[in-house]
């Protein structure tokens, strides 16, 4: 009870200073950023690098004088790939540590676990992961890529190249289920056929029967939406059974760098749409990789989530400096201006005011026989248009909901 009333007093005092018109930036304390990422457990391989990217961006900003003169202070907790830890630590950073913004979450299950808490305490959270799309929530800023960026590009390209019979293999939780729904819809729109769809519980590592099901189907390519270290065993096992089908994915390579971890050619002919991976050969990307490895020489791989986390910190800096405060309404007023952009490792990206998602240049990465990466094609500047088109407009109202193609926002 006591902490609550203290919080209220504090909130009242803060409100008071705002009403009095004192610029909040006059405080010389640091800006506190909470970081909740999985540094251990099933997802650690893909997410340790996000923490490092945030530390890199923080150090660069602090060395250059901080955000509007205030240094950034990181409050980092290891969420252990466990949804309950996310809820625990989200309460802790918002209530006890009183952070200004939180950077949190890898799996969609973890995001949906902490999102109600962010809403409850009216916090602000950056979700820097590619995901199944559809989160229309004013308390969330999403820098990761979404299905209209990853699937609307990838699936038609694959169908044109390899044929229209599609087999989907997806992790059995909200990310896999909703992503599979997207794939199904796009395949139907393009006149193709779903010859199979199988959902794999997280933590499953043995795929013999699944491999046989795929071999028995007439699939032209397999969409692999497998998540976590255990499920990644699929590629090795499919390769040793000589499945030999091209694979398409929104999560592999760009997230879990399977092409570095497995022996060639188990990932050969894997096609991934990603907004960043370290193999992208542009001056901005090479510069980013160089600065990253200077600070973290042993980093196994710099993936798209690392780039998005790095971009996220820089976007937040810009938002706070333009808003003149860390106040969420002031920040959202800046986003509503519609010109919040950042020229980062993956090129120029902009925040969309309606959905608070980010535009991306999407690279099609192909894994070759020797596990080197080539880029058969690039789609420039794809807007996260689906939420806005479907009727989500965070500048008007805040439903704090997640929508999917089969459950779009209610008609106004």
């Amino acid at each position: 009870m006591k902490t609550y009333s203290k919080r209220h007093v504090l909130a009242a005092m803060l409100a008071g200073t705002c009403i009095a018109g004192l610029p909040a930036l006059a405080q010389d304390g640091p800006i506190k950023i909470g970081v909740l990422e999985d540094q251990s457990g099933d997802f650690a391989a893909a997410t340790n690098v996000k923490v490092h990217a945030i530390q890199l961006a923080t150090q660069e900003i602090n060395d250059a004088g901080g955000i509007a003169g205030r240094p950034i202070e990181l409050v980092i907790y290891d969420t252990q790939s466990d949804n309950r830890r996310y809820q625990e630590f989200m309460r802790r950073v918002l209530q006890q540590d009183q952070v200004d913004v939180v950077f949190a979450g890898f799996s969609s299950a973890s995001r949906e676990a902490y999102r109600p808490i962010v809403n409850q305490f009216d916090g602000l959270a950056f979700y820097n992961n590619q995901y199944e799309g559809g989160v229309c929530d004013a308390n969330m800023i999403v820098t990761g890529a979404v299905p209209e960026q990853q699937f609307s590009t990838l699936i038609p390209w694959m169908m044109e190249e390899y044929g229209s019979n599609v087999y989907t293999l997806a992790a059995d939780y909200n990310f896999g289920q909703i992503s599979a729904e997207w794939v199904r819809q796009i395949v139907e729109e393009q006149g193709g056929t779903m010859v199979g769809e199988e959902f794999i519980p997280l933590g499953v590592s043995q795929f013999s029967q699944t491999i046989q099901n795929i071999q028995e189907s007439d699939a032209d390519f397999v969409v692999t939406l497998l998540v976590g270290a255990a499920q990644a065993s699929y590629y090795e096992q499919a390769n040793s059974a000589n499945v030999g089908l091209p694979m398409a994915s929104s999560v592999n390579v760009g997230q879990g760098y399977e092409h570095k971890r497995f022996t060639p050619p188990s990932l050969a002919n894997m096609f991934v749409t990603t907004n960043y991976i370290e193999e992208i050969d542009s001056p901005a990307s090479n510069d980013f990789v160089e600065r990253f490895r200077a600070m973290f020489p042993d980093e196994p791989y710099i993936n798209q989530e690392a780039a998005n986390s790095y971009i996220g910190i820089n976007l937040y800096k810009q938002l706070v400096e333009r808003a003149g405060s860390t106040d969420h309404d002031a920040i959202r007023a800046v986003i509503a201006e519609g010109d919040v952009c950042f020229d980062g490792p993956s090129g120029n990206v902009c925040l969309d005011p309606q959905s608070q998602h980010m535009s991306h240049t999407i690279y099609l990465a192909k894994v070759e026989e020797d596990h080197s990466i080539t880029f058969p094609t690039v789609w420039e500047n794809i807007e996260p248009y689906w939420l806005g088109d479907a009727g989500c407009d965070l500048t008007q109202n805040d439903p704090s909901a997640q929508y999917t193609p089969s459950s779009p926002p209610p008609a106004q």
Binding site: S40, G41, D42, A44, A45, N48, Y162, G163, S164, N165, D172, G191, G192, T193, E198, F199, I200, P201, G203, V204, S205, Q206, S208, Q209, T210, Q212, N213, Q215, E216, D218, D220, A229, A230, A232, S233, E236, Q237, N239, S240, A241, N242, V243, G244, K260, R261, F262, T263, S266, D298, P300
Partner: protein, 313 residues
């Protein structure tokens, strides 16, 4: 859309035209069923052997079982990458896990033989330390070593040869353990120690040493499981966890005896799992496995082995 699957359909039409007779197509179908059963059986037997030895012989519920598996897999991968041939590398993995197991037995487990609940907590703590320790020291992943032996074509489907080797290893493992416990001096002494420790001591058996060796054997078998599956899996500190459910389920269904319990339990569970996975997918395979445990512990609390022993008499 029909045009695209052309190559596949054509190949299928050709092969069936060539083979013509139905009798020829029967073999691939039976082989496929047997392959799936064998694959599930091998996974259950290999992953539970170490747990079954430690639980069945010593009554210790070893929650660090998955971490011994991880230890075996890591040592196997490291030695294979250092240039050792795979069978030798797997042996290295098993021996390393066994040595770690004996050290752990001496340091911790030995003092908890009459405190089963405490031993659960202690081994769980060891597993947490091992997972996190490996994460901190060796990082979140380790590069895999690739599955050897390639694939073979039976009918029109291709199968991984290594998976057939795994099935053979599972059978070999059961035979080897049988010989060890029923045909060697160590086996007789170990069984005597487990059944009548006081009497064994009176006859001059160093029972502490036997307990240590048995625990080491269980840990070594877990390491062997890790070594055998290392080429087919992602190498991460938490990899042992993917074996845990299956191995505990098999030991619980089987009961205290490996040969009368764990082996038939693995066979029955493999049929349940392979069939359900084939018809309804992975999720139902897992559900079937867990429902089987619930039914078994309700109907035969001592597991299959107690049931079979009573039936024998």
């Amino acid at each position: 859309m029909r045009t695209f699957g052309r190559g596949f359909v054509l190949a299928r039409a050709l092969s069936s035209a060539e083979q013509g007779a139905r009798r020829v197509e029967l073999f691939p179908a039976i082989f496929s069923i047997f392959y799936q059963f064998g694959d599930a059986f091998a996974f259950l037997v290999i992953s539970c052997a170490g747990l079954a030895v430690i639980f069945g012989m010593m009554g210790i519920i070893n929650l660090a079982h998955g971490e011994f598996i991880m230890c075996g897999a890591y040592v196997t991968a490291a030695s294979a990458r250092a240039g050792l041939p795979l069978p030798l590398a797997i042996a290295c993995g098993a021996v390393a896990a066994g040595v770690v197991g004996m050290a752990l037995e001496r340091a911790v487990i030995r003092h908890l033989y009459h405190r089963p609940l405490d031993s659960i907590i202690a081994t769980w703590g060891v597993s947490l330390i091992a997972t996190q320790g490996v994460l901190i020291m060796l990082g979140p992943t380790m590069q895999g070593i690739g599955t050897p032996l390639g694939s073979t074509l039976v009918g029109e489907r291709s199968y991984s040869v290594y998976r057939i080797v795994l099935f053979a290893s599972a059978v070999g493992l059961l035979v080897g353990l049988y010989v060890l416990f029923y045909r060697t001096r160590f086996g007789v002494i170990a069984r005597a120690t487990i059944q009548r420790p006081a009497m064994a001591r009176a006859l001059g058996v160093d029972t502490r040493r036997v307990y240590g060796l048995t625990f080491g054997l269980g840990a070594g078998l877990a390491g062997l499981a890790g070594g055998l599956y290392a080429p087919t899996m992602t190498m991460v500190p938490t990899m042992g966890a993917t074996f845990i459910v299956e191995s505990f389920v098999t030991v619980v269904v089987g009961g205290a005896d490996i040969f009368l319990g764990a082996a038939p339990a693995a066979a029955i569970l493999a049929v349940i799992r392979a069939a359900l996975t084939a018809w309804y997918g992975q999720l139902f395979g897992q559900i079937g496995l867990l429902v089987a445990v619930i039914v078994v512990i309700r109907v035969m609390p001592g597991g299959l082995s107690a049931f079979l022993k009573r039936w024998q008499r």
